[in-house]
Symmetry: C2
Subunit: 618 residues, 2 copies
Amino acid sequence: MSAYKVSLRELRFFLWELFEADRRFLGAGPYSVHDRAYFDDLLVRARDFALELGRSYQAADLEGCQLLDDGQVRIPSHFHALWARFRDEWSNTLFGTEHGLPPILTQMIYEMFMGANPSFMTYGGFTRPAVKLLQMHGTPLQKRFIAPLESYRWDACFCATEPQAGTDLTAVALRAEPLDGDVYAISGEKIYISAGMHELTENTLYFVLGRIDTASPDSFSLSCLVVPRYWPDDETGELEPNHVECIGLPRKMGLKGCANTHLKFGAGKDGQKTRGWLLGGRRNVGLLQLMPLMNQARMSTGMFGVGVASSAYLHAVEYAAKRMQGRPIERASNTSAARVAIIEHADVQRMLLDMKSRVDGCRGLLGKLAATATHASILEHTPGADAADIEKHRKLQLLLTPVCKAFISDQAWRICETAIQVHGGLGYTDASPVEQNARDVKILSIWEGTNYIQAQDLVRDKLGFGRNSRLMRYYREELDAFLDTQNASGTDTDLRPYFDQLRRAADLIEAALDHIAAEVQDGHTHRSSQFYTRFLEMFGLVTSAWVLLESATIAARRLADTDVENDPAEAAFYRGKLKSARYYFANVLPLVEQHERAIASIGHAACSVSREELAQVE
Amino acid sequence: MSAYKVSLRELRFFLWELFEADRRFLGAGPYSVHDRAYFDDLLVRARDFALELGRSYQAADLEGCQLLDDGQVRIPSHFHALWARFRDEWSNTLFGTEHGLPPILTQMIYEMFMGANPSFMTYGGFTRPAVKLLQMHGTPLQKRFIAPLESYRWDACFCATEPQAGTDLTAVALRAEPLDGDVYAISGEKIYISAGMHELTENTLYFVLGRIDTASPDSFSLSCLVVPRYWPDDETGELEPNHVECIGLPRKMGLKGCANTHLKFGAGKDGQKTRGWLLGGRRNVGLLQLMPLMNQARMSTGMFGVGVASSAYLHAVEYAAKRMQGRPIERASNTSAARVAIIEHADVQRMLLDMKSRVDGCRGLLGKLAATATHASILEHTPGADAADIEKHRKLQLLLTPVCKAFISDQAWRICETAIQVHGGLGYTDASPVEQNARDVKILSIWEGTNYIQAQDLVRDKLGFGRNSRLMRYYREELDAFLDTQNASGTDTDLRPYFDQLRRAADLIEAALDHIAAEVQDGHTHRSSQFYTRFLEMFGLVTSAWVLLESATIAARRLADTDVENDPAEAAFYRGKLKSARYYFANVLPLVEQHERAIASIGHAACSVSREELAQVE
């Protein structure tokens, strides 16, 4: 039995109806190799592999990872056979075309794989970014590692965090001392390195943030070192130990199949050194090199979240439809009334609609990001494309990235929590995978920059505390284009009020940003930062609502079609889209107003507090 | 190292300042045996034992429970020694006085014990209700079991749930067939029985809901059978097997030290029967007998929630105060600026205040319930007490019980989640107990009646869909008495706006109830029930705010005292109370308005949805 559930109908709606990926993306630029039929087949193939991955989801959680006495790390036993299949069946698909797949397609595939077995997917999880890093920055020698990475014979890992340097990377202390040319001796420790040691591949390349210049230890001048677990002999290519050790494997709340390693570099006895190459032979530009990849990791966090949450949601629907319990509230005391499936109870419907609308909203939010990236990428490959248009799409991509990371990770947690609740007592046990779903997604609000860091990135770095009005304008241009088109084309009258509500909600984002800008201008940056989390959530809510309303307008149109009318399953599917939007606009989106009101009165709502005021523990 | 943290200063504030337990409760009625000094000592003693309990909190989670081949259940090894201490040091304190301790004091003790090791506290967790049941309903023979229960030589368990009968107890199928007098042969299965089998005590008494009359299998006519694990010989008292078997032990998300048993009654080979006594010799009144005890269990759920959440909060404060990371946002790019503890960051302060105010609010909400019960109990023991006054307090107790159960369990989950977030990556590992805190409290929204059932109980059974205006009036009388007194006595002007805000928020509860009443009157009960969860939350939010404002007014008064002014720790403590209230009123309480608006537009916001509309899984 697979612990994973997915609805391909949903993914196809998303791709072909909502984002019109065939019309917009498949005809043009670097992605004209394949047509829609190819991708429909690919989705089926990916779904089948995802179901396979889901079969060892719970077993891997139970088995976990162990650090053995000889320093080896034992990962869940099922992962070895799965890895062979992943490598043989998917490396070519994922890397076989020059520019890869269109991001919006990759999103679908990774959503399924990560949703089905996120622990497994941490292995090889840095391969794509690593390949990009080497393509962009690698020296000719370093570029030789692209091939073994692309074929998944080698793995890659990103190593940033140290015990004293988590969110604050300027505190990184790992040392790199010049040996010969761009070869350095590496010494130091890194923690929380996902999939940091395993035997799935013959080698692992660690992309390690470290310090060559230690004169100004607090500066941002970090370098990126490429450190192999085994050093390939220059002549023979034979792999020799490079003295990287796993010295700890903390027990985690979830994601237990992912070896979360504490690594020590330069651990060789008798002074044997750990060697690494300076990426591109360039010192002190590590963060600059890696920053674009962090955005990739943030998007991946969103895919992981949507994938797991969507599966938890589908489990809840299935359970609610078959679990008989109680009678309708109007006939609760009539013991001769028939019992009903709990899906008949209004509060269970509330929970399911809440989950559905959030899953739909998050997938769509991520889709907006992927579609923007796809669009930009096509423009970049189109001779004579408008530079301003490219700029706009790249900026929108940057704007949406922190929103996706933080908002989706928070929503995924809520969705999984609700899935547990729908299951009742069963949901608290491993008779259903949903409790593991919740434990697994909890990491998402923490890793790749905590959610507050995303909010700060959005407000400060992306929107310049409101000074960078261009990004906000780009966003509104896109949103308003949707709002206007619909108004012009005479939308279903039932949906009309939602257009107004969405416009007002988007206005509130701008109002909130103005308030923050004024606060910062008045020197109250610190206290204003207590509200960035709310501000980011406003963005997530509005963008989700936007996608849900787009989906609803499509659904309304399709429902007017007699073919759909005569197909009960299809008609139900589209009615579901209408209800998802309706639920969200009435029950979830209004939260935006509360956020805006709090932000409008920061002076009143902000609270500073000290250790002593918070608690006295005797 | 104990995984538990508690602030006795907080508990003393709560008892002696906020609830004035000495003035109101210790002088009078059945509780005049002990004075404040005794209880202060008792708190210290309870705190010390709680810290001891906390030492095996994480080990018990790791070890869990196992069903052995011989049918025995192995529980965490540390629990045996702890149990001996609990039995020897606490049974007398908890049962030694005729009427027990005042509920508001028991609340404090159980908050600490359950907060420190909730799994451990499930053993013997039904002892107090069982003693009460036997006192109230037992036959003379059955009353003989009170002594071994009170001395914790025997344990007691409540057995209601069956695979097909969870929320819907009318579906209970366990059979009881008359054998001789009030002895019955019991056959059937029960699931999710907490602490259902162990060797801590020489015997366990199961209080089993079953069916004697099977003619109308759907009726509410259930009986309560008292079924011992070992049958005491009538003459010798020797214990013989009674053929109760544990046939399953599901793996759970948390609370892993609690043996969650699947029990089979009547499992003897060769037709050996499981025997039990009909409680009080009365058929078909099982639910009536047990109902008052369910209220007790709901209150316990609240104590468990507050205890664990409070400890998680205190861990977060401690970690935030010592974890150095990053620089103040205004000097973030100035790498020569000193790093600060994360407690200096505004968003971390937001998270800590959010947790603090919710912990304070939940503890106070529970305190209102316990104080009401204490008050009622004193009145009942006071000759000539006003019957209407007793009635009022007993009704208020009933009103607040479902609110406590559901609201606190939801809040505890949020608080633990935030505690994880404050800890960053560390919070996701067992280097801190907070991830276990979250896993442990997740059961609270499910057991003892899911949170929706609590909301339905509140709206339908307690408030009669708004027809029972008396309960609402009782609540408002108490709240208004606080609001009026404060207005009259010239409260701190800074707090004045909060009084108005609280009054308005309470008005919104009544408005929401009116909307629900109108919906029900118009025949829309079903759709109205989609909003009971929100309605219950309004009650929880307003009552929390009420307690926080009471605390703040006390704090404002104390801060005007020169003794306090000159005591930095005390002054900080009271400033913390002011800030907790201020944060809550500005940032949390406004949610009440959103709930009311949704309820005001039920016709618009309610959404019914079908299986087919929700999802299509291929």
